[in-house]
Amino acid sequence: MNFELPTTVPLQAYLALAAILFCTGVWGLINSRNAVRVLMSIELMLNAVNINLMAFSSYLDGQLIRGQVFTIFVITVAAAEAAVGLAILLSLYRNRETVDMERFNLLRW
């Protein structure tokens, strides 16, 4: 077992960073009680996926950078998602006077 420090950034480093970001986002998504923070966690997860796409595009598909095109589309969809999500949140807040996720149970039972 001899670890030598890599001289360039390996692909696995990007993948590990994206895994950290994604798992943090999942944990925040499950455990946040503030609805705005849930939206922020979703943005973190989308960014983790984008990092993966960009790393693969640069390391494995250097000529036809299709991953970068996908990242552009993901950014577009994320912007639309944030706009609609925050509009839903404002509407909910106006009707229930709270941002506590535990009390948004209109559709539950």
Binding site: L17, E43, T76, A87
Partner: protein
């Protein structure tokens, strides 16, 4: 543009540390305003990572869309709904946090295992580097033309949907009597309709 590999390594280490710590801060900090600003920092660091991967166009798009639009939108939402409320205690919250933490750690271990055991076909083809923007333009107007056009429809739908969802429904005339409604009532916020009666 090629940076010396050691500089690249240092930049990657710093940026990924900022991303990881910032993401933890976004999730864990009690004050949500700090979380929103940290989220902006995370977005900027991710844009820096894209620059390290020779993708200047996507880095610019990341800064413009995420930092300029999404983060500002989140800050606006926080300003509009920022009411310090005492959250009711929930039984078993600690257990739930631990359980979900264990699930996330398991997911993390799985992802790491996949990342480090898969024989990736590196080094792949030579990266195009500075020509990436030209390549993206060629892709968007040839083989990805349909998704590109669909994205514009999607953005239009999201815009209309956000306006419809967030606007306050106001009647200009009273439904029952047909008289013009009191404008002073319209200016004030409507009484909440769905306040919980139980608990």
């Amino acid at each position: 543009m090629t940076i010396a590999s050691s500089t690249q390594l240092i930049c990657f280490t710093v940026l990924s540390a900022v991303v990881a710590i910032g993401a933890l801060g976004v999730v864990l900090l009690p004050n949500i305003v700090y979380s929103a600003f940290l989220l902006g920092g995370v977005f900027l660091s991710v844009a820096g990572l894209y620059l390290l991967l020779n993708a200047s166009f996507v880095a610019a798009a990341q800064v413009l869309v995420y930092v300029g639009a999404v983060n500002v939108l989140i800050l606006f939402a926080i300003m509009l709904v920022n009411k310090t409320e005492d959250l009711a205690a929930i039984p078993g919250l600690a257990v739930r946090r631990l359980l979900s933490g264990a699930v996330c750690a398991g997911l993390f271990a799985l992802l790491l295992r996949v990342a480090f055991t898969t024989p990736w076909a590196t080094p792949g083809p030579e990266p195009v580097g500075e020509e990436a923007t030209i390549r993206i333009g060629e892709h968007l107007f040839s083989d990805y033309l349909l998704p590109f056009e669909l994205a514009s429809v999607l953005l239009l739908m999201a815009m209309i949907g956000a306006i419809v969802l967030a606007r306050r429904d106001v009647m200009t005339t009273d439904i029952v009597t047909g008289e013009p409604a009191d404008q002073g009532l319209i200016e004030k916020s409507r009484t909440p309709l769905l306040l919980e009666k139980s608990n």
